[in-house]
């Protein structure tokens, strides 16, 4: 590999400019994507550290590793860091930032400076969150439920609320940039029906960013103001209504689940056709199901509140609407499966992640139906069943999609290939570790183990030991890519412009791309996923 380093590199976005200033003041969407990649990886490991401590505490039935109060802080900060500082920005801010302009055939996002601003807002929010963690943490649960958060908790609720408030503006600006870019910056010939499905799901995600995030912003601001100035809006002793807080909170935070899963679905929709060498089955259905998920996603929030004292009729309507989300989700799963049918499938690393995604997302989605059912929800509400369900969606779904996408576009982003064998191995480790961690939690929850307790009856120990063992395996599965991806930056094989023989405008550019992506504005005359007409590169053919 020493020869690779000697070869004169073509000018690209990475070597166009040097120095810390050229990174911190860049307006290049690809460099901003890398800034995000580094920062969200940092927060992923912060959140992962909390997860590790939680699992270690739950290894034994007694509360012996940390104090009860510390445990409350651990699961709170695990949730807040993972949801707001990793999962929500994960795919949109890294892969989305990198790919949206390239996929539409533009030189940059519509508002490059606002894009940079959004990263700085993320960092400002992140630093405040770190300050909150280091000065004692917060113990309200990631949901900030009132009146505990407003009147009783004497931890750093204000700091955490403001951190997430600031971070919300970063999401809003990213979403705004994507919607405007997809509307106004498409290259000639790039019609809506020729757009890659990743763009459709990014578009749907951005709509949720735009319409949902402001609501959590004002809600958290009201919580902060209630703590700071003594407003009584959510305080039941003064006639305020905590259930109103829950409505406002979940009006964003339920759609936020779709912010996490939709981009991962977009990634999977790119990977599956590429490694099946087939046109995606039912393009329009998959595209429209993204929009449908975003729309339905706004109409189901109260299914988090079935036991919070909302009216039975409201609960009925929200239950039915929640079932409806299964329709577009199933449309996607069936269409991906149909895409693979009779395809020429190769089990490369991104494909392994995509296949893992389909399986885990299906389990996560189906158990979601249990929770949408009014009767069963009463039984499993606030148990480990819920924990397992949403981790299947967020970790099994969103995180698998993110890792798959990162591997798939790694050659484009860095110009280097990662070691394939290590990639496949770690994909398998993640899949096995994940199931071992979270499947026992379904059973625990069904048997009645409540969430957010740091002690439990001894009969639950076996399943908890499985879960903790799985979490350790999962940790290895996340550390491995970290190591070999960094290794590949220097020692990886040079990738070439289109190592997978993939469709899409981003693969028509050099790897890594130049600062302005395209030398000339491309003109699109073909449909997305025209795999029947894309020849496989010689190397890939030989590998099969």
């Amino acid at each position: 590999m020493a020869t690779a380093a000697v070869t004169t590199e073509r000018e690209n976005y990475l070597n166009a400019e040097y120095g810390i200033k050229s990174w911190l003041l860049t307006t290049d969407h690809k460099r901003i994507a890398l800034l995000y990649l580094i920062s969200i990886t940092f927060f992923f490991f912060v959140g992962g550290f909390f997860a590790l401590l939680i699992r270690l505490e739950l290894l034994t039935p007694a509360g012996d590793l940390v104090l009860a109060d510390t445990y409350n802080k651990l699961f709170t900060m695990h949730g807040q860091v993972m949801v707001f500082f990793f999962l929500i920005p994960s795919i949109p801010a890294t892969l989305g930032n990198f790919l949206v302009p390239m996929m539409v055939g533009a030189k940059d996002l519509a508002f490059p400076r606002i894009n940079l601003l959004s990263w700085y807002l993320y960092i400002a929010g992140g630093l405040l969150m770190l300050l909150c963690i280091l000065t004692g943490g917060v113990d309200t649960g990631w949901t900030f439920y009132t009146p505990f958060s407003t009147g009783f908790s004497n931890t750093n609720v204000t700091e955490a609320g403001l951190a997430i408030f600031i971070n919300g503006f970063s999401s809003i600006l990213t979403g705004l940039n994507f919607v405007v870019t997809i509307h106004r910056m498409r290259a000639p010939g790039m019609t809506w029906s020729r757009m890659p499905l990743f763009l459709w799901s990014t578009y749907a995600t951005s709509i949720i960013f735009l319409l949902g995030t402001p609501v959590i912003a004002i809600t958290l601001l009201l919580v902060v103001m209630e703590r700071a100035f003594g407003l009584g809006i959510f305080d039941p002793t003064r006639g305020g209504d905590p259930v109103l807080f829950q409505h406002l909170f979940w009006f964003y935070s339920h759609p936020a689940v779709y912010i996490m899963i939709l981009p991962a679905m977009g990634v999977v929709s790119e990977i599956i056709p590429c490694f099946s060498r087939k046109r995606v089955f039912g393009y329009k259905a998959v595209a429209m199901s993204s929009i449908a998920i975003a729309v339905f996603g706004f109409l189901v929030w109260a299914h988090h509140m079935f036991v919070a004292g909302i009216s039975l009729y409201a609960a009925l309507v929200f239950s039915i609407l929640s079932y409806l989300v299964a329709l577009p989700s199933a449309v996607k799963v069936f269409n991906w499966t149909a895409t693979m049918y009779k395809g020429s499938i190769s089990f490369s690393t991104p494909m392994l992640y995509a296949l893992g995604f389909i399986g885990l997302f299906t389990i996560g989605g189906l158990t979601g139906l249990f929770l949408a059912c009014l009767g069963i929800d009463v039984h499993v509400h606030d148990t480990y069943f819920v924990i397992a369900h949403f981790h299947y969606i967020m970790v099994g779904g969103a995180l698998m999609g993110y890792l798959g996408g990162l591997h798939f576009w790694w050659p484009k982003i860095t110009g280097r290939m990662y070691p394939e064998a290590w990639g496949r191995l770690s994909a398998m480790i993640v899949f096995i570790g994940f199931n071992l961690t979270f499947f026992p939690q379904f059973i625990l929850g069904y048997l009645g183990m409540p969430r957010r307790y740091w002690q439990y009856p001894p009969e639950f120990q076996v399943l908890n030991v499985f879960s903790t063992a799985g979490a350790s395996i999962l940790a290895v599965g996340y550390l491995l890519p970290m190591v070999y991806l960094l290794w590949s930056l220097r020692y990886g094989k040079l990738a070439g412009d289109n190592p997978w023989g993939a469709s899409g405008l981003e693969w028509t550019t050099q790897s890594p791309p130049t600062t302005f992506n395209f030398d000339e504005t491309p003109e699109v005359t073909w449909e997305a996923y025209d795999y029947e007409h894309i020849p496989l590169p010689m190397e890939v053919t030989l590998e099969r």
């Binding site: 307006t27 106004r184 609501v215 100035f229 109103l244 302005f516 504005t521």
Partner: protein, 236 residues
Amino acid sequence: MSDSPLLVEHPEHDNPALLHHFATPEQQRNTASLGMWLFLATEVMFFGGMFCAYLVYRYWYYNEFAAGSRSLDIWLGTINTVVLICSSLTVALGVKAAQLGKRKQLVGLLLATLVFGVAFLGIKGIEWYQKYEEHHIPGHSFDVSDIIQNYPQIHIDPSHSQIYFSLYFAMTGLHALHMIVGIGIFAFLTYYSWKGKYGPEYYTPIENGGLYWHFVDIIWIYLFPLLYLIDRKPLR
């Protein structure tokens, strides 16, 4: 490449305002305009959360809301509404002046907008100070015994009154914050208009700044009746 890539002009165009990643000035203008409208949509959702809370509590605690509303100074509120509508007029005329390239007129209109904006905040400050003196600010020294004495006919629960005033200060406070941001934007626009940056070829910032100003104005148009005019009939 020493400068930010944004400053690199497109070689095919001689329009210095056209950024490198746009093909035509029309595309750039449409893009900026769509971005602004979407931003305003997020602002609607932002204020929407509070309007939602207002709706719920006004329905539950109507008496306290009506009594709280009567305690506001309707004259100052009305004057402020007129001031803001006038400021929107000067903004609208300013956009026209920019499109026609009338620089002096543009600067004059923007300055007038700034004056109206500052006047609004000043009057709002007087109103808040009145509330401070009356102990109507939520918190430990909150006291509505004066309101209760004024309306012995109706039952008023002080804690529910506090919710009205919580919403009053949260809503007008965030509105005022938006006004302050707007004044900052317009100070910026006035400076660059005076420098002659905007004209018939390039007036997008004036147009988008104007959209923001009108939006903040419209929020007030809703806040005024919701907070001041709940029930002004004389009580018997």
